[in-house]
Structures are given as structure tokens and as C-alpha cells.
């Protein structure tokens, strides 16, 4: 198997950045220029952090200058008033900004991302107000001066040594940023931004990912602020206004949100551009606004993103091949080993008791009691509006039950968050396939592994051997699953470009990546051709053979009769019949529910 491309591109990127950083002291003419480069590195650190937020989870912070100020003031205060050394002061800045990050993100990202943007503006103003008004601590508008030089034990650092220190920290920041972006954590974050629903169904907690991204971006800003305090040896409130927050955001957008190099580019341009903008005089702020507008309208992916797109387009043109999907399912001993479910408990795997879901006064599901047996195919059918999809949503935790209980593997899960239910072994597909459509086919499947991954956060950031081992293993398994559903040829294709039937296959492969015990399929046959439906039937049978339990909501009667062990019929949210496919088919109540009057058994097969 060839080397994963991410590794080599990452290596190339880090070597070139490190090389450039090493050349700088020899390329600059004087200390002043070296200080400008240091300022650039500090801005770059803020921008790298902010990119984790904007580029991965698609949230916006308009208060990054506030967090930057928080780091700078923490270091300034600890160093001047408490005599703290470099490491203590920096750890203080990290702790304070991480706490601020949680306090700002957790209340705001649960309902809507926009809230974070608004609250961070307020936070930036709070920090500036406190810096001005709490004179005893912050020195008011005069600020704090005489911040000591860094002393690591061998006397105060010279400007050039300070450069090496700042360069090392920013380089570490770049590596962490790059590693996070190209890891399961970065993938999970992007997944949350693209489809919160699908991410939840795959066991990813969106709130956790968003809070994590914001805390990381806060800490990056805090560390950068601390370095700024040591570089400038003086902090005052003027440096940290709302327009500085906008400038940090502009760095990310201009450079290219979601790319490894974008933040560096953006920070570079905006460090040196003010000299150009001097020419605009009073119109400088206007120029920033105009630049932001220009980028959003004409270069929405930023410089790095646009260059990358162009490169991909050129490469794609060269390697245009005709691909065909394979037939599916394609069982193999490896797939069997991957998906086989061993019975750990006796009795039904999924049960409801008197389950009701009401929206306002309307009961979509009322008093439903179900027992779903292990390794069976259980179909839920009924006319339109009978409450089938509501039922699936209740089983998978997307709707909390109004009354009654849902028991999964002998565990009461009613009201539990859908991502937790998914991690307990139940996952699902959606009526209108919910793929992460701008990610590749392979990435979609890899996200399915996220919740089952064991490599920790730090091992991922610092690329411990376990990270490589697990990444390799997951890529192999993803290849197996793609082969199982016959999509191997499309591994690197963008998921949104797949044909509809192939999207359905991919969604199933992605769900299987979670190694679920129970798989809920919401109208999997809708929009498929006859031969595709036959293949789907074969797949469901194969999953049953492997010990999976399949719950099926479907309209396609032939398919239900062919594949189900048990059929439950809903009408107006209530169970009107339940039993073997043939007994349900002949039930007069079922026939009446479908046709309004008795037509005889022959009518149902329509």
C-alpha cells in the first residue's frame, strides 16, 4: 500500500516552513525588520488558531483580539506583579484563555453558531473595558510597561534569541494546526459543520467538537498574546479593539479558511499591508472593509483555497478515467470479521413501551410497544403520515419521547442524545441521504470510524505511533467497506458528485463503519432501480447473516415481503398490526388503512 499522501504533504509543508523560519535572521537587514517578522509570527499564531474555528467547524469569532489581549495581560500581570518566569506566565495565559474559551463557547454553540459571533463581540468589549477601568490591575489606559525580558536561566534573551523562541512556538502551533486538520478530529469537526444530523447519527457530539475548536483557537490567541507582551514589553488597551478582531478574521478568510497555509499567508499579507494602506490615510479602515468584501465575493476560498482548487482541477483533467461501480454486496472473510456482531445479551435488542411522540397537540406516534429481536429484519410500514419516520427518529434519539420508554440493549435510552445512542451501537441512514457532500467518499467512511477510535487527543496532535497505526488500519477498513458496497473505484471522488444510488450505498457503508449492532434504514429503496433494489435485499440479508439487526422503514412492498422477519404496521401513529409478513398482508385492518376499504389481499402488492 502506498504511503498516505497526507503524510508526505505534511512533511513537505513542515520542512519548508521550518526552512523559511531558519533563513529569516540571515535575510533581514536590522533588528527593526526582525521585530516585524516576529509580529507576523505572533499574528500567524492567532490566525492559525482562528482557522481551526472558521475552517473546521464553520463558526466565526469576532472577539479574537479580546482573547489575544487576555493572554497578553495575563502574562504582563504575572511577570510584573508576581515575578513569574516565562513558563509560569505562559501557562497562566493558556489556563485563563482556555477557561474563557469554554465559558464563551459552551453557552452559545448549542443552538446556533451565530450566537458565538455575537457573544464574542461582547467579550472583546468586556476585555477592553476591564483593561481600561480596572486600573489597579491593568494600569488603565497607560497599560503595563517594563515587562521583563524572558530569562530561561542563562540571562535575558537577546532580540535574536527571542526570535528563535517565537519562531519555535509558532512552528509548533503550525504543526499542531496541520496535524489536527489532517486527523480524525479535524474530520469530525468538518463533518459537524457540513451536517450536524449525520454527525450525530455517527456518534459525534457536535457541541463538544465546536467547544473544542473554540477553546483551541482561544489558547492559540492567548499564547500569541503572551508572546506579544514579551516582544513589546508593554501592553495597553489600544492594541486590542474590535477592528483588530476583524483583522484576524480577515487574515484567515483572505489566506484561505480550512487550509494549512492560508493563515500564514493571510497573516503575512496583513502584517505588511498596513504600510501600503498608509496611503489611504483616513480611509484605512474603509480599505479593510473593502478588502474583506472583495475576498468574500470574488475569492471565497481565499488565496490558498483557490490555488488548491486550481491545482486539483488541473490534476483531475490529466487523470480522467472512466470508473464503474462494482456489484454489491461483496462479502469477504475480512468484512465478516469487521461487521460480525456477537450476542452479548439475551432477548430483544430494541424495545419500546407505550411510546408516544407529540408535537404540540398532534400525536405523531402514540402508545407504540415494539420488540425488535436480535439478528432480525424488522419492517415498519404504513401509509404516508403514519408516523414511521417519527418512530425512527425516536428510536435513534433525534426526538425525545413525550411518554413511554425506549430500551436499547437493555439500557433505557429515552431522551438520551442521538450521538450517545449511536455510540451505544445503533446507527441509521436518512430518507434524503445525509452525506458530507464536499468530502471524499473515503473520508465519509472514515468519519464513521471516529466514535470507535482509540487514539487520544494528544496522541493525535503530536502524531504518536498509535496515531499512524490506527490511521492505517482505518484506511484499510474503509477500503474493505467500500469494496463491500462496490464503490472502490470512487474512493477519491467528492461524495456530492456520486449518482443517487451510489450515495445510498455510501451512506450505508459509512453507517457500517461504526460497527453497529442495530442499523435503521429510512426508505433505502426510494429512488433506486429494480436491480439496485435486488442488491439492497441481498445486502440486508447478508447483514442479518452477520448478526446485525436491521430496522427498515419502507414503502416498497415487494421488498418488505422478501426481506422482513417481522412487520409492524402503523396508522395515525398507532400499531394496527404486527406479525409475520404474510399474516400482516392478509390483515383486513391493514388493507383498509392502505385503501380505505376492503379490496382483498391482491390489492396490497401495488
Amino acid at each position: 500500500m502506498k504511503q498516505p499522501p497526507i503524510l508526505s504533504s505534511g512533511l513537505l509543508a513542515s520542512v519548508s516552513v521550518a526552512g523559511a523560519l531558519c533563513l529569516v535572521p540571515f535575510a533581514v537587514a536590522n533588528t527593526f525588520q526582525l521585530r516585524v517578522v516576529m509580529l507576523f509570527l505572533i499574528y500567524a499564531l492567532v490566525a492559525l488558531g482562528l482557522n481551526l474555528l472558521v475552517g473546521l467547524v464553520s463558526l466565526v469569532s469576532l472577539g479574537q483580539a479580546g482573547l489575544y489581549a487576555l493572554g497578553a495581560y495575563t502574562v504582563a500581570i504575572l511577570a510584573t506583579k508576581a515575578g513569574a518566569g516565562f513558563l509560569t506566565a505562559m501557562l497562566g495565559a493558556i489556563a485563563v484563555t482556555a477557561i474563557a474559551g469554554v465559558a464563551l463557547a459552551y453557552p452559545t454553540v448549542r443552538v446556533r453558531g451565530v450566537y458565538l459571533a455575537v457573544v464574542t463581540i461582547a467579550f472583546g468589549l468586556i476585555v477592553q473595558n476591564v483593561a481600561i477601568d480596572w486600573r489597579a490591575l491593568t494600569g488603565g489606559t497607560l497599560g503595563i510597561s517594563n515587562i521583563p525580558r524572558i530569562n530561561l536561566g542563562a540571562g535575558p534573551l537577546s532580540t535574536r534569541d527571542l526570535y528563535w523562541l517565537i519562531a519555535a512556538v509558532t512552528f509548533a502551533g503550525f504543526l499542531i494546526h496541520h496535524n489536527l486538520m489532517h486527523s480524525r478530529i479535524g474530520r469530525a469537526m468538518r463533518a459537524v459543520a457540513q451536517s450536524e444530523t449525520a454527525a450525530r447519527a455517527l456518534g459525534i457530539d457536535p457541541i463538544r467538537q465546536r467547544v473544542l475548536a473554540f477553546v483551541l483557537s482561544s489558547v492559540f490567541a492567548g499564547v500569541a498574546g503572551g508572546l506579544y507582551a514579551y516582544l513589546n514589553r508593554y501592553v495597553n488597551p489600544d492594541t486590542f479593539s474590535f477592528s483588530d478582531s476583524i483583522r484576524f478574521l480577515l487574515m484567515v478568510i483572505l489566506g484561505g479558511a480550512g487550509t494549512s497555509f492560508g493563515p500564514l499567508l493571510g497573516a503575512g499579507i496583513l502584517t505588511w499591508i498596513p504600510n501600503l494602506l498608509q496611503a489611504f490615510g483616513k480611509w484605512q479602515l474603509f480599505a479593510y472593509g473593502a478588502l474583506l468584501a472583495l475576498v468574500i465575493f470574488f475569492l471565497p476560498k481565499g488565496i490558498a483555497g483557490s490555488v488548491h482548487d486550481l491545482w486539483m482541477k488541473l490534476r483531475h483533467r490529466r487523470s480522467q478515467t472512466i470508473r464503474e461501480a462494482g456489484s454489491w454486496p461483496r462479502p469477504s472473510s475480512e468484512i465478516d470479521a469487521l461487521l460480525r456482531v456477537e450476542a452479548k445479551i439475551r432477548g430483544p435488542v430494541l424495545q419500546t413501551r407505550e411510546l408516544s411522540i407529540r408535537f404540540g397537540g398532534l400525536a405523531a406516534v402514540s402508545g407504540v410497544t415494539l420488540d425488535i429481536e436480535r439478528a432480525s429484519v424488522h419492517a415498519i410500514i404504513g401509509p404516508n403520515g403514519a408516523g414511521k419516520t417519527t418512530m425512527l427518529n425516536a428510536l435513534s434519539g433525534f426526538y425525545p419521547p413525550t411518554e413511554g420508554s425506549v430500551t436499547l440493549l437493555q439500557d433505557e435510552v429515552g431522551g438520551r442524545a442521538s450521538d450517545r445512542i449511536a455510540r451505544s451501537g445503533l446507527t441509521r441512514t436518512f430518507q434524503n441521504t445525509e452525506l458530507f457532500s464536499s468530502m471524499t467518499v473515503e473520508e465519509n467512511v472514515l468519519i464513521g470510524f471516529h466514535a470507535r477510535s482509540t487514539t487520544g487527543f494528544l496522541a493525535t496532535l503530536f502524531r504518536a505511533p498509535s496515531f499512524y497505526r490506527e490511521s492505517r488500519q482505518q484506511r484499510q477498513r474503509a477500503a474493505l467497506l467500500l469494496d463491500y458496497v462496490g464503490l472502490s473505484a470512487y474512493r477519491d471522488e467528492t461524495a456530492g458528485n456520486l449518482a443517487f444510488g451510489h450515495q445510498r450505498r455510501l451512506e450505508i457503508a459509512r453507517a457500517l463503519a461504526m460497527s453497529p449492532e442495530i442499523l435503521l434504514l429510512d426508505e433505502p429503496a426510494a429512488g433506486l432501480t429494480h436491480s439496485e433494489i435486488d442488491e439492497l435485499i441481498a445486502l440486508i440479508r447478508d447483514l442479518k447473516r452477520l448478526g446485525l439487526t436491521v430496522v427498515l422503514v419502507e414503502h416498497h412492498v415487494d421488498m418488505i415481503m422478501a426481506v422482513s422477519d417481522h412487520v409492524t404496521v402503523l396508522d395515525y401513529g398507532e400499531v394496527i398490526a404486527s406479525g409475520s409478513p404474510s399474516s400482516v398482508r392478509d390483515d383486513p385492518k391493514v388493507i383498509e388503512a392502505y385503501f380505505g376499504a376492503s379490496l382483498g389481499p391482491a390489492g396490497v402488492s401495488a
Binding site: V114, A122, D133, T197, S243, W283, F286, G289
Partner: protein, 291 residues
């Protein structure tokens, strides 16, 4: 006691202003699940235009409607240029950035041309204060909360009783279905941004005799209006007006009992804590995510 009445009265004045600004956010959010982040600057535009027109010798009775109309046109422009092309679903951020960019340009433009120095608009009702329970207040100031309540009534009536209002509610709930029913979703979006901008301009002009008109006046008013709308739950006009009043009164009490410099810190802090306790807002319903 007199002090308490004074705080409450002047709190209702500034709170009424927050409420009107927040209603603007509410109108835009209801229509397209996106807002003009530069709503504060839109308000400033209305305010500044009315002052500029007055200087140019245009009588206030003509100048004020002109300023409101011009600002409404600006709202149309924002929706068409900055929001519609960049608003694709719940996690798109383009509309946020583009409206911020336009706000930044507008504020910078006004700072340069109008000057950074604050100015004021005269009002015949700002000459003699009236006394209520020992507290003094200008009649013009009392207008603000009254207008806020009247606007709430008007909005309520509009959304309930008029065809356009019902169409807007339908769009807020199910844009695709509303479109299929023959409602012109795009026109409604334009209309709501124009209405919100006009409302913002109106608030700015109403406030002009009380607070100073300057290029920077929009930032804090816009931010607080947005926070009020969020804390109220974004989708409940009555709740928004209640929270607006409450926030204004809270601010005045903080200033009076503690310290003016604590106003923003405590005010924003309390708002964040409220959001922690009520993620869907005080009056918001939990939105069931239909999947």
C-alpha cells in the same frame, strides 16, 4: 425611592431602543434565518442622514421620512447583494462576513465624511422635563418605550392579520413549502430587510435627540439589540420587547448602584449566564430538528 424611579424610567427609555433594534433582527431572522450584522450601522445611517438633511435645510418633516426611505433602500441592497448569494443553510457564514464588511465600510465612510464628532438632532419635546414621582424625564424620552410597544402591536397585527405577514410566517417555518404555495420567497426576504432597516433608521432618529449621533453609535446599539433578541429566543416578538426593557433597566441600575464602568461587563456577563441557563432563549421554544 426617587432614584429607583429614575433608573426605571430612563432604563425603559434605553431599553425601548434596544427592543426596537432587536425587533429588526427578529424580522430579518424570521424571514431568512440570517440577519444583517451591520444592523447597528444601518441605524446609524438613518440617524446621520436625518442630521445631514436637516443641515442642508430640508425641514425635519420631510427629511426624516426621506432618511428612513433611504435606509430602507440600503436594507434592500444588503439583502440582495450581501445576504442572498451567501446564505446556504444553517452553517454558512458568508452572509455574516459580507454584512460585517459592508458595515465596516459604512462606518469608516461616515467617520471620514460626517466626522467623528457626535452631533444631535433637536426635538421640541426635549426642552422641559416632566416630573414623575420625583424623577425627571423629557417627554421625548418617554416616547421611546411607547413607540416600542406600539411597534410591537403593529408587528403583531401585521403578522397575524395581513396576507403578507402570514406569508412571512409561512416562509419562516417552511421556505420550500411556502414557495410551492406561490409565495414569492425572495420578495418577502427583500421586504423584511427593508422593513428592518426602516425600523432601525426610525430607532436611530428617535434616539438622535437623546444620545449623540456619530459614526460609532451603531456598534453598541446593534450588539445589544442582537443580544436582546438572542436572549429572548429570536422568534418571539413580545419576549424581545420584554427582554429589551429589562436589559435597559438592568443597565441603569448597574450604573446607579454600582459604577458606569461596570455596565457593559455586568450586563454582557448576565446575558451570557442567561444563555447558559436557557440555550433556546427565555421565550424561545426548543426547535425540533426535523430529520
Amino acid at each position: 425611592m426617587t432614584a429607583f424611579i429614575q433608573y426605571t424610567l430612563s432604563g425603559l427609555v434605553i431599553g425601548g431602543l434596544y427592543a426596537i433594534v432587536a425587533l429588526g433582527f427578529f424580522i430579518m431572522w424570521s424571514a431568512v434565518r440570517a440577519v444583517n450584522f451591520a444592523h447597528g450601522d444601518t441605524l446609524m445611517l438613518g440617524s446621520v442622514l436625518s442630521v445631514v438633511l436637516m443641515w442642508s435645510g430640508v425641514p425635519l418633516l420631510i427629511g426624516i421620512p426621506l432618511a428612513i426611505l433611504a435606509t430602507a433602500a440600503f436594507g434592500l441592497f444588503i439583502e440582495r447583494i450581501a445576504v442572498r448569494p451567501l446564505n446556504h443553510g444553517p452553517s454558512s457564514i458568508g452572509w455574516m462576513l459580507s454584512t460585517i464588511a459592508i458595515g465596516l465600510m459604512l462606518e469608516a465612510f461616515v467617520t471620514v465624511t460626517f466626522g467623528a464628532d457626535p452631533r444631535s438632532l433637536p426635538s421640541p419635546l426635549m426642552t422641559t422635563p416632566i416630573a414623575i414621582g420625583g424623577a425627571g424625564i423629557f417627554p421625548h424620552e418617554l416616547l421611546v418605550p411607547v413607540v416600542a410597544l406600539a411597534l410591537l402591536g403593529l408587528l403583531d397585527w401585521f403578522y397575524r392579520a395581513t396576507m403578507t405577514g402570514r406569508a412571512m410566517r409561512a416562509i419562516a417555518q417552511k421556505p420550500v413549502a411556502a414557495g410551492l404555495m406561490g409565495i414569492d420567497v425572495r420578495r418577502m426576504a427583500l421586504l423584511s430587510f427593508a422593513a428592518a432597516a426602516a425600523l432601525g433608521a426610525f430607532a436611530g432618529i428617535l434616539a438622535a435627540p437623546i444620545i449623540q449621533v456619530s459614526a460609532a453609535m451603531g456598534l453598541l446599539l446593534g450588539l445589544k439589540g442582537f443580544l436582546v433578541a438572542i436572549i429572548a429566543g429570536m422568534s418571539n416578538a413580545r419576549g424581545i420587547v420584554i427582554v429589551g426593557f429589562a436589559y435597559g433597566v438592568l443597565e441603569r441600575f448597574i450604573e446607579g448602584l454600582a459604577n458606569t464602568s461596570l455596565r457593559e461587563v455586568l450586563g454582557f456577563g448576565i446575558m451570557i449566564l442567561l444563555l447558559l441557563a436557557f440555550p433556546n432563549g427565555l421565550f424561545g421554544k426548543r426547535e425540533v430538528n426535523k430529520v
